[in-house]
């Protein structure tokens, strides 16, 4: 069912199944609308993106935890010219760093359902997941209201 239009090495999206990545659970959860990451069972360290070895204590024991699905715009801009291959049709699009509620993470994301002119610093946004044409899954944020 996977039809990769671009040659693999020019495909921006990660391979997501268990044949290709040890964090396939992240993508399985994303398919259920949940943004998750790994928490180290030994030192409690919470890292983004998910890990298979803890950069804090060297453990390889993790549990999956759900991240908040809302946050606010820490910064944003729009891509008006010079988008990469496969994204030309999306121009113009808004990009923002979303400070996830109660975390240190400022996750970079497309900000959908809005225009640059309608965004503001501190604007509330919420997670939205979607399926790519080839069946893989991805996420973006959209205005919360």
């Amino acid at each position: 069912m996977t039809t990769i239009v671009l040659p693999y090495m020019l495909d921006f999206y990660p391979l997501q199944d268990e044949d290709n990545t040890r964090i396939h659970q992240f993508y399985a959860s994303l398919r259920e609308g949940k943004l998750t990451t790994t928490k180290c069972k030994d030192c409690g360290g919470l890292f983004w993106p998910p890990r298979v070895a803890c950069p804090g204590c060297n453990s390889d024991q993790f549990e999956w935890v759900e991240l908040p699905d809302e946050g606010e715009l820490y910064a944003f801009t729009a891509m008006l010219l010079g988008a990469p291959l496969g994204m030309e049709k999306d121009v113009p699009f808004v990009l923002g760093m979303v400070q996830l509620d109660g975390t240190e993470f400022k996750v970079l994301s497309r900000i959908g359902n809005t225009k640059y002119e309608d965004c503001s610093l501190g604007m509330r946004v919420k997670l939205e997941t979607y399926e790519l044409e080839d069946g893989r899954v991805w996420f973006r944020f959209v205005p919360a209201d």
Binding site: P14, P49, A75, T77, A83, P84, L95, K106, L108
Partner: protein, 390 residues
């Protein structure tokens, strides 16, 4: 620690060149060997090639032996390529320096090169997006302009920096590059023209951004003991600092303060036993206008938040507190990734030799630094140079 000197320098013209990757290499090689006196190519025992993405831009890996053959040398102590995106060129010089300090290498050629203009520029833009974390950040459509646009937004929000101040950086550097026949852009770009240019990623407009450039640059390094055999005015490496902090944008502490630059600068000044204002001029990485403003602050040339005022008052011009980017910077000269860092060092050497056009000469300069950032400003690399050894 052993003192190391740069004894020769050379450039291939930067621009949209009707020349291939390997032809740029040959041009820079010719220029550097034309510049050096009393050197037999057989005495070059080491080669360091700074190249960011030859695999993407020239479909060529394993580039060091290719360069060695084009240049006509048989390096037999160290032969390698250094890759650190936009700092790949300085990385070649840093690595050569370390190799000479240890005594492993005696005479090293450092050659930085990038061929970025391709028949289909979409390929270039796509490749540039993998300088960021491709799986998590690049995938969202992020590349350099949107990242630095967000840095500008935060700096404007937190410190009141204006787009007019950013435009002044572009005007200054384009003015300097009118004196530089090796620059990609050799015309004046007044601030009004910057402010009227097409928007790329708000608030950044076309002339807030450095170009997509082909170019090459080369230097030859050896120990202090041998330096005077090859030039009357060696340029000595007298200090160094480098720091990498975070990769995924989610893990940045700030966009408006570049913490790894503060750490790298502190170490560079400590190792050179100087303070920032002891420098007579600096080459800093103005990939975007906002970069230069943040660098004034975090390299210690002015107080935090006063970078906008620093350019407005002309403090980064000749005659100001710290002349910055006298060759025209990346904004005026262009930014061929692997060549940029070495191009900056060429300017420093030519300033020390007083061979730059007098409109941009920093008269009597004794100390200067070259700074590069790479990727999304998460790595900062600094080398400090002196007309005299430490």
């Amino acid at each position: 620690m052993k003192n190391v000197a740069i004894v020769a320098c050379g450039l291939a013209p930067f621009g949209v060149r009707k020349a291939t990757w390997r032809e740029l290499v040959q041009e820079a090689s010719k220029a550097v060997f034309d510049d050096v006196q009393n050197l037999d190519k057989k005495d070059i025992d080491s080669l360091f090639v700074g190249a960011a993405m030859p695999e993407r831009f020239a479909f060529q890996s394993h580039v060091a032996p290719l360069v060695a053959e084009q240049v006509g040398i048989v390096p037999h102590k160290v032969v390698t390529r250094t890759e650190l995106a936009c700092s790949s060129g300085q990385s070649a010089v840093r690595t050569a320096w370390a190799s000479i300090v240890t005594g492993l290498s005696d005479i090293a050629l450092c050659l930085g090169v990038e061929k970025m203009n391709m028949p289909n520029m979409l390929e270039t833009q796509t490749s540039m997006a993998c300088v960021l974390e491709r799986e998590w950040d690049g995938v969202q459509g992020a590349s350099a302009p949107p990242f630095f646009a967000m840095c500008a937004q935060r700096h404007m929000h937190e410190y009141g920096t204006t787009v007019e101040q950013m435009a002044m950086v572009s005007e200054k550097n384009h003015h300097f590059s009118t004196t530089n026949p090796y620059a990609q852009f050799q015309k004046e770009i007044p601030a009004e023209k910057v402010l009227g240019s097409p928007m790329i990623a708000p608030p950044l407009r076309l002339f807030d951004c450095s170009g997509i450039t082909d170019g090459a640059a080369a230097v030859i390094l050896t120990s202090e003991e041998r330096a005077k055999e090859f030039t009357d005015v060696p340029t000595y490496i007298i200090g160094s600092g480098q720091c990498s902090m975070a990769s995924n944008l989610a893990n940045y502490k700030s966009l408006s303060t570049w913490h790894p630059l503060k750490i790298a600068a502190k170490e560079a000044y400590r190792s050179a036993k100087i303070g920032p204002m002891d420098l007579d001029f600096a080459e800093v990485h103005d990939c975007f206008t906002i970069s230069e403003i943040i660098e004034y602050e975090d390299a210690g040339f002015c107080e935090k938040g006063e970078g906008g005022k620093f350019i407005e008052e002309g403090q980064s011009n000749i005659g100001g507190k710290m002349p910055i980017n006298t060759r025209g910077g990346l904004l005026g000269t262009g930014h061929p990734l692997g060549a940029t860092g070495i191009g900056q060092i060429v300017e420093i050497m030519q300033q020390f030799r007083s061979t730059v056009p007098k409109e941009r000469l920093v008269d009597g300069a004794e100390m200067a630094m070259a700074h590069n950032l790479s990727g999304a400003a998460n790595v900062h690399s600094i080398l400090v140079f002196g007309r005299s050894p430490r």
